[in-house]
Amino acid sequence: MAKSKSVCNFAPKLIESIGFATLKTSFMVTDNIYKNEYDVIIIGGGATGAGTARDCALRGLKVLLVERNDYSTGATGRNHGLMHSGARYAVTDGESASECISENMILRRIARHCVEETDGLFITLPEDDLGYQRTFVDACERAGIRADIIDPEEARRIEPAVNPELIGAVRVPDASIDPFRLTVANLLDARLHGADTLNYHEVEGMIVNQNRIEGVKLLNKLTGEHVEVRGRVVVNACGIWGQRIAEMAGAKISMFPARGALLIFGHRVNNMVINRCRKPANADILVPDDTVCVIGTTSDRIPIETVDDMRVTREEVDVLLKEGVKIAPSLATTRIIRAYAGVRPLVASDDDPSGRSISRGIVCLDHAKRDGLEGFITITGGKMMTYRLMGEIATNAVCAKLGNTAPCVTATQPLPGSEDDTLDQRDMSKRYSFGQRAAIGRHGSLAARIEKENDIDNALVCECEGVTVGEIKYAVHQLHVHNLVNLRRRTRVGMGTCQGKLCSCRAASLMGEFRHDVKGAQADLAAFLDERWKGMRPVAWGDTLREAQLTAAIYEGLCGLDQVVDRTGKEDVQ
């Protein structure tokens, strides 16, 4: 088969009922991208990479971002979804705490549609030392974080899910944030300002000319094509995978992967973030995220070779539950819909590569200074919620190399979706259907781009999460969706309690029509169900097991999907 010319190797078919033909598509021809020469090539499609791409593009640089999988598949999409106030770090790491509170306030302005202003509690339980509360509040004050000690009674009133036995509570400006939306919004803005972005493009090597990095060698994982793209500066924003990228360039960074597992519960039990007021430990934060809540995390140092194995173990589930019920006792009887794990990219200090002294803050390495390697910058460490600051720091470094003097505006310029503050979600019930309202909740003002003129566009595909045909069309055409897992990250299809029972078939059908590839859609459907199962399996008891059995009865028993797609024994390829 000839190599396809486009990233999306399918053309919109004229299917009247779905109305794809009427949609303005935004396909990019990769040929042009491959021929371009860029000011900066950013490797890594997590929040940091996306934030760097946006910043660079806003400062007028010609930007290419490449991601080997889908956007936000690394640590960005595998954390709590917590927008820290910084309070958690106040006692142990004042610098991080200050960064957090400053970024927290910025994100409330620029990423309104990704943020839910929930506030957070730091609770002291009878087993904890109430004396720590004073230390904690003082540290918060030093870092500039508002921290109000409130009466336990008041805490029980404002957050009924909290462990009623608490003996102390402090209210802080924590919030909930959706990292998938945040990353996509940054990418959209980068593209709006001329950047090119490619997912499913893996860096296989660097173009090295003497001691200068001049570009990257890429594998297009969708077509199998190998290409080289040139850039004046290459930014390594690959999180834990950055060690490997640095090695390709001939630089050495010692990363210490810290794995954290989390559990997602079927609905919100809490509407405020709840933390334990003590030194950071296992499973001490419960965050309300969209329609669910998430407890986490565990923390284990793991060998770098195992960072791609994200399966959650029984022991991790046990620890999370045992500690989680101390924060909110109702978790003991709330359905767990899935478990997942992520890896924090911790970096060893350059003067102590053993890992005993680990920096938890932002690390920006100019390899010219460090390793004598020109045109290569690594941005790592940090946190999802300081992504913007990391982007700013990295962009500053890039601009310094390129002699660009444009100021950074990412702290004040709203992201696409958040620029319209007239869209008041409180008053939506009269004007919009459930699906439309859910979409506004997800895409902010960008929801206006979702077609809703006819009944079919408004039809729900995913009923748990209110995802319409129109929203899927929008995501497929404008948000770089190649498969159902991508679609889920952009829209929440299949993220409800049933984990895609009926909606995944509906969505797969639509994708099959759209891509003109029925067999591919079936394989994609099986892969999607497999990916869902990966998270369900560690918690497959109770209603989650019932759900799994019903899904099997429908897709294997009724439909015979297993007969068309044989994936027995294959590992997840997403």
Binding site: H267, A332, L550
Partner: protein, 419 residues
């Protein structure tokens, strides 16, 4: 692990036990006739997750829910779908005023008290075309509806004048929650029950203070008033059950369901301590016969063919078995048990002009099944089903207690029970 956890999933109204199987959507009578209603799954457990996130996700179309509870009966996962919807409506409706029409329809006892006083006039007036047109246009009560006729004498009055004094003579005593329908519209049902119970050696007492159970108030969003009345009734029930040690009998499935289950779940009025002592008379009588405590003797020449319609709330309570088995004791009765369908009236729902067509469309299957059954009458435990079926099929509709009373050889029964 030390403490046991994740043994079961507990959530309000079991909403997260939903596996999204969509079975509830196959039985919803409202979704079957209108696309305005999002259906029980969407209105219930799906919507609830979003409402927990933000109450603004409330969909005002939830008002179309009949609260028939058929979704709950069909649910294989034990999700209280209708309760989820009702609670959402309740939360969304807090602080809002009900319309005059809704208030009037909901206050069945107030309407009844006035109407009884002027029964001949009321019956004529409520039936007159101009009145109906005024009600249709001004009050939005549908012109097709005939208000149930009001009796001249309230059941309570009849009881005090003709029955009360000789009740104490019986060895066993029960209390009777007669409800508005028996009191104002159809005292005969109450009289039938007294006749029946007396014949088997049971004396009947009214409650100290009985108010309308409030089922219509809840349906019309008048929660505060419903709660007030529920408290009064709960006190009377407690007096009867805990102090007088009497079982409280009822003849309306909706009142019964309301007293036992909706008081605690919808209104937060706890009746759990007396719940087991509140029951439909059919269950009570069936049990006495089953335990061989009483004997029933039936008329020799009795012969009828009757269809039994399981009211939605009756099915939700799961007690149709008692009414059916009780009637099956009547030798001359050819009983046709109809497949459970909603009749569409759902209390006051079908009375509202905006609901009339939907209401009739919902009931169409039931009406057809009744016609196919070729019966001379229909039996059901719900009075609003009775109005709807009578209006829509022309057949007489009776409570199983009346069917039993009609078939009973009273003298022979008294003798058989040693009276």
């Amino acid at each position: 692990m030390a403490e046991r956890m994740q043994i079961c999933n507990l959530s309000e109204n079991n909403f997260e036990q939903c596996t999204k199987c969509s079975i509830c959507t196959t039985v919803c009578p409202v979704a079957a006739v209108t696309t305005d209603y999002p259906g029980p799954k969407q209105a219930g457990p799906d919507g609830e997750r979003y409402r927990l996130k933000d109450p603004a996700y409330y969909d005002k179309m939830l008002k179309l829910c009949l609260n028939c509870k058929r979704c709950e009966v069909a649910c294989p996962s034990g999700v209280h779908i209708a309760d989820i919807i009702q609670h959402a409506r309740m939360r969304a409706g807090e602080g809002k005023r009900a319309s005059l029409r809704d208030t009037m329809l909901a206050n069945t006892d107030l309407l009844g008290t006035v109407a009884n006083l002027v029964a001949p006039v009321a019956n004529v007036t409520l039936g007159l075309k101009p009145t109906k047109m005024v009600m249709h246009s001004v009050m939005a009560i549908d012109k097709h509806r005939t208000f149930p006729a009001y009796s001249r004498m309230k059941f309570e009055t009849w009881f005090k004048r003709h029955a009360a004094e000789h009740q104490a003579a019986y060895a066993n005593q029960v209390s009777y929650f007669h409800g508005c329908y028996v009191n104002y519209n159809f005292p005969k049902l109450g009289q039938d029950l007294v006749k029946l119970l007396n014949a088997v050696g049971y004396g009947v007492n009214l409650l100290d203070k009985e108010q309308c159970c409030g089922v219509a108030l809840i349906a019309n969003g008048l929660y505060k008033q419903a709660k007030r009345q529920a408290r009064v009734n709960a006190a009377s029930l407690r007096q009867a059950v805990n102090m007088d040690h009497r079982t409280v009998l009822t003849t309306s499935s909706s009142c019964t369901f309301n007293l036992r289950d909706e008081y605690p779940s919808m209104l937060g009025v706890d009746t759990s301590d007396v719940r087991d002592s509140i029951m439909l008379a059919t269950r009570f009588i069936y049990r006495l016969v089953d335990d061989e405590k009483i004997k029933l003797v039936f008329k020799q020449d009795y012969k009828r063919r009757i269809a039994y319609h399981t009211a939605c709330h009756m099915q939700r309570m799961g007690w149709q078995l008692f009414s059916i088995e009780m009637m099956r004791m009547i030798p001359g009765l050819d009983l046709q048990v109809l497949d459970q369908e909603c009749c569409g009236i759902s209390g006051t729902y079908g009375f509202k002009r905006e609901n009339y067509e939907r209401s009739q469309a919902i009931g169409a299957t039931l009406f057809k099944n009744i016609a196919d059954a070729k019966v001379e009458a229909v039996a059901t435990d719900c009075e609003t089903c009775k109005w709807q079926i009578e209006m829509s099929t022309g057949l007489p509709v009776e409570n199983p207690i009346s069917v039993l009373a009609d078939a009973l050889d009273v003298d022979a029964t008294r003798r058989a029970n040693g009276l």
